[in-house]
């Protein structure tokens, strides 16, 4: 105890003036960096609130606000005034590198080197003021206020803070997707209604305030009543609870069924892509999340599934069929499994980094093969394969994204089912043992070679199905679609969502695949944002955004051990949590 108290003290003492300067300048460097690479200018073209706020401005204030928040958290226990003052100084320090940038832009020819440091950028940074001096003052004030707000957040009681964050996040989220809302609302409620709340596709200020208040109020209400309501659900009799749960499932089911028609063609297409990545994420999760085999060549399975489908369903000269799509799916699945099996053979004895490098090579092999002259006479080489037949049932042809949505939905649900079952099975435990310690697993009597083969093979199956649907959906197959980025995307989804966590993978796919499709501004900076997100997640939430029960429990236990609550409490928690999985089956 005494030891711990001492450690805490040194920890706090570390946050002094020097740390403050460090964090302030760090925020400044981040803000300057996003300005220099052109992100701020690009994002400024997107308005968040009509005439008031652009996305570029949000990006500008985010670093000092976030940094002030994290610094203030480290100062917990200090007086409020001190914390706010620290926040303000972080904001002011953030401005320093930006001011340097403005001076450079106005007095030198730096644009020759950094094409994005333009007069337009200076204009954004000085809020369009004619006088640079006034503009810089404004920048100082705005950033200081933002970071005071960030620091101030830590002073609020938790429920108010959560409500505020939810309010701002909802407003921002809806603002970013306002174009889509406008399209949907216009269809249903007419142009005049839309005009009332949006100005050429951008939220009016009172719309923003309204959304903020609704989200804010709802969060507060939920915190107030939510626990009560959940408590009441638990008091229900068992059959009544079942009823509630079934009706919940029924409503979700209906929503899933009508979703594409409510969202329209464009959003359905986005949803389809998200769905394909959920499918692949769940598949790769078997190898990476459950068995701990880092596979960087997942695109291989995707490509095999797609090309098998193309060759079997095309009416062009490469065709071997055409065979009905429903027969092709199991063939593509088996072909991918076979590929997974064959590629697994040479790497069975490799571990960790070596395995990752070898699998990375497999992805390249496939890319080279589909582009090669050697196979060009069979699969079209760089020209790809065109004219795939659409899947059909009787006289109905699957042609639009809204149609393919259902195929993808069924595939995802099937894969979800398989994943849940595998997770709780004897095979699942084999994989977990393998992931933890190969030698000990063998000493327990687990055939590690067979277990690995099974993981690679089953993991590949989902990739094959995803590839098959992908090919049918596009109606064509081109080698360019099968590059390293597919593998990276799938892996990032798993890491950011939470290794081994099924809901985490769904969340990850929406975040990494869905969000960038909706926000064109993000496209150009997609990889940068991926990288930043990966680093932040690794540093702050290494278990992922929505970790699996095992990982959460592990973290929970570790926290309990170091807390002063002692053993009794940790047992209550671990008992309570272990009750959950058993209730599921």
């Amino acid at each position: 105890m005494a030891h711990m108290a001492m450690m805490n003290k040194t920890d706090e003492a570390k946050f002094d003036g020097r740390a403050l300067v460090k964090f302030g300048l760090l925020a400044g460097v981040v803000a300057t960096y996003v300005a220099v690479i052109g992100m701020i200018a690009t994002f400024s073209q997107r308005q968040v609130v009509a005439g008031l706020l652009t996305l570029g401005q949000v990006l500008l204030v985010a670093p000092p606000l976030g940094m002030a928040y994290f610094s203030a958290r480290k100062m917990a226990g200090e007086s409020g005034g001190k914390i706010l003052a620290a926040g303000a100084s972080i904001g002011l320090l953030t401005t320093l590198p930006l001011i340097g940038l403005i001076i450079l832009a106005n007095n030198t020819n730096i644009r020759i080197m950094f094409v994005n440091i333009s007069p337009q950028l200076v204009n954004i940074l000085t809020f369009g003021q004619d006088s640079v001096f006034v503009g810089v003052l404004l920048l100082l004030v705005v950033l200081a206020l933002a970071s005071v707000a960030g620091a101030g957040l830590t002073l609020l009681p938790a429920r108010w803070r959560q409500a505020l964050v939810m309010g701002v996040a909802s407003t921002l989220g809806i603002a970013l997707m306002s174009e889509l809302f406008v399209v949907i609302l216009r269809e249903r409620l007419g142009n005049n209604f839309v005009r009332l709340f949006f100005q050429s596709g951008v939220m009016r200020w009172y719309t923003a305030v309204g959304i903020f208040l609704i989200a804010f109020g709802f969060t507060l209400f939920w915190q107030w009543r939510g626990t009560q309501m959940r408590g009441r659900l638990q008091q229900f009799t068992a059959p009544r609870q079942k009823q509630v749960r079934w009706s919940g499932a029924g409503i979700s089911g209906i929503i899933l069924l009508i979703l594409p028609w409510a969202l329209g063609t464009f959003l359905s297409e986005v949803l389809n892509n998200v769905g394909l990545y959920i499918l692949m994420g769940l598949g790769l999760n078997i190898a990476v999340g459950l068995a701990g085999l880092l596979d960087l060549g997942y695109v291989t399975n995707f490509a095999v599934g797609a090309y098998v489908t193309a060759v079997l369903t095309t009416t062009s000269q490469y065709g071997l069929g055409p065979i009905p799509f429903w027969l092709v799916i199991p063939i593509a699945l088996l072909a991918a499994m076979l590929t997974g099996f064959v590629f697994a053979l040479p790497v069975l004895r490799m571990r960790g980094d070596y395995l990752a490098i070898a699998t990375l090579g497999f992805g390249e092999i496939i890319r080279v093969l589909v582009l090669s002259d050697w196979l060009a006479s069979r699969i079209g080489g760089p020209q790809g394969i065109l004219a795939l037949q659409n899947p059909s049932i009787g006289n109905f042809f699957f042609a639009r994204p809204e149609h393919f949505y259902y195929i993808i939905l069924v595939a995802c649900l099937a894969m979800l089912f398989v994943s849940v079952r595998l997770n709780n099975s004897r095979t699942g435990r084999q994989w977990m043992a393998l992931r933890e310690d190969e030698d000990v697993a063998a000493a327990m009597g687990i055939d590690t070679i067979l277990t690995k083969l099974l993981a690679f093979t089953l993991s590949a199956a989902a990739g094959g199905v995803a590839g098959a649907i992908f090919a049918a959906k596009l109606g064509t197959v081109f080698p360019q679609s099968f590059n390293l980025f597919v593998s990276i995307n799938v892996l990032s989804i798993i890491i950011i969502g939470g290794m081994g966590s099924i809901p985490g993978i769904v969340l990850g796919a929406f975040l990494l695949i869905g969000a960038p499709e909706l926000l064109r501004e993000f496209q150009e900076y997609r990889l940068l944002i991926y990288g930043a997100l990966l680093i932040v997640v690794m540093l702050r939430r290494p278990e992922g955004l929505w970790p699996s029960a095992t990982r959460r429990r592990e973290l929970q236990d570790a926290m309990d051990l170091t807390s002063h609550l002692g053993v009794v409490h940790s047992e209550v928690i671990s008992h309570g949590q272990s009750a959950n999985p058993s209730r599921m089956d």
Binding site: M432, A433, D439, V440, A442, A443, M444, G445, E571, S574
Partner: protein, 237 residues
């Protein structure tokens, strides 16, 4: 016939000749201790016996059957269990899941539950913590878990690699007392230790391993009185 017979085995890591003709026997019902300093080859001997490493020369007989070429995962079924060096528990799984993995090769649900109760009886602290994640157990509890997990396969021969390593003296006493208890229920034990003092107290016979070769072999009492052993491994002048 001895339960385990190791005849002149040679084991290599790449070109490193780690075992240079090791021979030893373990009779049914015995505790035999294998002592030796750091890097003597104790762990390598155990890894070779349980199939994680295949010997390039010599052979290993278990209950009259040659084990030299049999892969590790088949040995559990034959009745050999291992408590690995540094415990080797599955840190992210619960205590219960660890124990269940120990019984991985078995299908008799009732027998497994019976043995689970036995393990919990042997180690009441594990019973209290059955839903806790193993990585958060204390060092002593992790050692108990590793031993309990090995017991879950109902082994005839239990191989233990330095069970006392890194434990507080009170716990060391407890672990050695448990080793004797396990032996009394009919399990034969080959015990690898650096703590020669304790290891020779519980054992009936012992071997001294030095740089991959058996240096001495005798009854435990005789080894405790051997001048060289007293000097090198017991720290008594």
């Amino acid at each position: 016939m001895a339960l385990l017979e190791v005849n002149d085995i040679h084991a290599y890591y790449g070109n490193i000749h780690a075992l240079k003709g090791v021979s030893l026997t373990v009779e049914k019902g015995e505790i035999v201790s294998l002592i030796g300093g750091n890097g003597a080859g104790k762990t390598t001997t155990l890894r070779t016996i349980c199939g994680l490493l295949h010997p390039r020369g010599g052979n290993i007989q278990f209950d009259g059957e040659d084990l030299s070429r049999i892969p590790a995962h088949h040995l559990v079924g034959k009745g050999i269990a291992m408590v690995p060096e540094g415990r080797g528990i599955f840190a992210k799984l619960t205590v219960l899941a660890n124990l269940e993995l120990g019984a991985y090769t078995r299908n008799d649900k009732e027998g497994i539950n019976e043995d689970l109760e036995k393990v919990f009886h042997l180690f009441p602290r594990l019973a209290e913590r059955r839903t806790q994640v193993a990585g958060t157990l204390s060092g002593g509890e992790q050692q108990m878990l590793a031993m309990g997990r090995a017991m879950m396969s109902r082994p005839r021969l239990l191989l233990m690699d330095e069970p006392s390593m890194g434990l507080a003296p009170v716990l060391v006493d407890l672990i050695f007392a448990t080793i004797t208890d396990i032996n009394k229920t009919g399990t034969t034990i080959l015990l690898v230790e650096q703590n020669a003092h304790k290891a020779l107290q519980v054992a009936s016979r012992g071997y001294v391993l030095q740089t991959g070769e058996i240096r001495l072999s005798d009854t435990a009492v005789a080894l405790q009185n051997n001048a060289e052993v007293r000097n090198l491994y017991l720290g008594i002048e």
